[in-house]
């Protein structure tokens, strides 16, 4: 991943200029520009890494440590907590429900946002400004505060206790940012590429699929992953719209463990690990696109 990012870097001379090697002697000024003293990088970074990683370690430790042990090294290891959470606390069901919600939200958000983003990037139409404003305004509306009317809507649609309600709610709240992101990515694809395809006899749709879509892959992966991670993580909609236990999702399951009268820390930690695994995998997969995803879409608008 470093190679991909190194090409994008513009602020240090290191990755540029593959030509002649730099002059051996540089002035003091130039060195001051080039080289941040190593300790100024590694010391704060190291401290921050401790802050980031110790909590993860702590959760793993509690998850595999036998009950009653206070050792800081998880040895001997036990998987009893996982067994208990997965089978007795029905995390197997929660996991499956969360997967359904996550994947469905990913597909729905990406498809709808792709259409909307293309319209914003490539056309001028009368309500474009209004549509953009609506997208931005919707960012100010707290999902938590709309629970009551949303609940009534889903009740009228008879979608309470159906995963569909959560999928719709997650998709809708994921849409505005996704549309803005995707339209940013599409704007970065030169129109001339599409026009060339039209000249060659392609229709707009075929030209889009053949020319634009492949170039959008990083953007689509970024947007799809955000949608997945968000819906995997989000808690309130599932808590409110799904009252039957066999319809619940992982975050709600975790909250049940937190709220238990005597908190079983081992089970809680194991549940946390189960909740973390999919998002960690997605994160590892997308993190090299993460930064470019934001610079193309969100920040620059």
């Amino acid at each position: 991943m470093t190679a991909a990012l190194a090409e994008k870097r513009t602020d240090t001379p290191v990755s540029d200029a593959p030509g002649p090697p730099a002059p051996v002697r540089r002035t003091k000024r130039e060195r001051a520009f080039d080289d941040v003293p190593r300790w100024q990088i590694y010391l704060p970074l190291g401290l921050y890494l401790l802050f980031t990683l110790i909590p993860f370690y702590w959760m793993l430790l509690f998850a595999v440590r036998p009950a009653g042990s206070t050792s800081l090294v998880p040895w001997p290891m036990t998987f009893d907590h996982f067994d208990k959470v997965w089978n007795e606390r029905s995390f197997a069901t929660f996991f499956q429900n969360s997967m359904i919600v996550g994947v469905a939200t990913l597909v729905a958000t990406t498809a709808v946002a792709l259409a909307g983003g293309y319209a914003l990037a490539r056309f001028n139409f009368r309500i474009k400004g209004g549509f953009m404003l609506a997208l931005l305004c919707s960012q100010f509306i707290p999902g938590a505060l709309m629970l009551v009317p949303l609940f009534e809507i889903f009740k009228n649609l008879q979608l309470i206790n159906s995963l569909v309600s959560v999928i719709i709610a997650e998709t809708v709240f994921q849409l505005p940012l996704s549309i803005i992101l995707i339209s940013g990515f599409i704007k970065n694809v030169p129109v001339s590429l599409e026009e060339a395809a039209w000249v060659d006899g392609c229709g707009r749709f075929r030209a889009f699929c053949a020319v634009v879509l492949p170039l959008l892959r990083p953007g689509l992966i970024a947007v799809g992953s955000f949608a997945f991670v968000h819906s995997w993580n989000h808690f309130l909609f599932a808590l409110m719209f799904l009252s039957e236990q066999d319809k619940q999702t992982i975050p709600v399951g975790l909250n049940t463990l937190i709220g238990a009268d005597s908190v079983d820390l081992g089970a809680l930690a194991a549940g946390g690990v189960i909740a973390a695994v999919p998002v960690v995998i997605v994160f590892a997969f997308i993190q090299k696109w993460l930064v470019t995803g934001f610079s193309a879409g969100a920040v620059k608008g």
Partner: protein
């Protein structure tokens, strides 16, 4: 939201032949527009409507039009409203200030070239993917009074046994703040890093030739370049930190003694546990207006006052 209403009823332009691109953009935004109309615009209007109603499922005999009674109650009778509003302000400002400072520092560091940068970035950004509930889970394990971090500190002779920072009114704010920072800073850092990568290298070289040190380069090149990104990131995060209830709901439940109840959490409790939907809707309306007002003021101030 009025604009969203226009989305669903596009005016048909006079048509000439098949598949003219004039209709295409409306077709393309139709799915998004309809979804947002049905599940954002309509609920928002419902909230405004309910805010003028007595609507309490436990007291159906006195439901009906209430006029501005709910709002009168908020501003004249409800002390809890002011407490939770003050806490929301304290929470958002603390989070944003610390996330900005730490996120900016982190972005500047991982923007350098050094051995192990890729893996370090991956590790320091990783809490971004973690949810509020999972963050709570992790920090509950860390803060636990009998087996958490404090026990090991006490064993090593620092501090004492049996203090849970989450149930002590003196420490709960900072305990929750640290937990939220843990996952908030990476997101801030990612946004800033994204913009940092578009700073032109030539500017630094020119400044360097002119004899500007790293500190001056930072204040005269880096910060002005990042200004827009910082304003946007701060605004988005501020709104998000105000609105989000996942973490505090699961970590502290708003306690101890209501000490960590934000306004949205208070609204959720009023509406969902108290079943007083009319009053909760009025609170929502007030929260929405406050948020919009603060955002507009913030944007105005940063645009006109923030010239470097």
């Amino acid at each position: 939201m009025a604009q969203a209403a226009a989305v669903a009823t596009p005016k048909k332009p006079p048509r000439r032949r098949s598949a003219t691109p004039r209709r295409l953009p409306y077709l393309l935004i139709a799915p998004a527009g309809l979804l947002m109309l049905g599940f954002i615009a309509y609920p928002v209007i419902s909230v405004f409507y309910y805010s003028l109603q007595n609507y309490n499922v436990t007291k159906p005999w006195r439901n009906g039009f209430a006029g501005l009674d709910n709002f009168k109650r908020i501003f004249t009778e409800d002390d809890q409203f002011w407490t939770t509003l003050a806490f929301s302000g304290q929470w958002v400002i603390t989070q944003i200030a610390l996330q900005l400072a730490l996120g900016l520092g982190l972005a500047l560091i991982v923007n350098q070239t050094f051995i192990g940068r890729g893996i370090s970035r991956a590790m320091v950004f990783s809490p971004w993917a973690v949810s509020g509930v999972l963050t709570s889970t992790i920090w509950i394990l860390l803060y636990n009074s009998s087996t958490g971090f404090s026990r090991y500190l006490a064993d090593a002779g620092i501090g004492s046994y049996g203090t849970s920072v989450l149930s002590d009114t003196g420490t709960v704010f900072w305990a929750a703040t640290v937990a939220e920072l843990w996952r908030g800073v990476p997101f801030f850092a990612i946004l800033i890093l994204a913009d940092l990568q578009s700073v032109s290298k030539e500017l630094y070289e020119a400044a360097s030739v002119d004899g500007a040190g790293r500190l001056r380069q930072f204040f005269h090149i880096t910060l002005p370049h990042l200004k827009d990104a910082i304003i946007l990131a701060t605004l988005l995060r501020g709104v998000w930190e105000f609105n989000n209830v996942d973490l505090l709901y699961t970590l502290t439940g708003g306690g101890p003694a209501g000490e960590t109840t934000t306004l949205p959490l208070y609204v959720a409790n009023t509406g969902i546990e108290g079943h007083d939907f009319g009053y909760a809707s009025a609170l929502t309306t007030v929260a929405f207006v406050i948020l919009l007002f603060c955002s507009i003021v913030y944007l105005r101030l940063s645009k006109f006052g923030g010239e470097k």
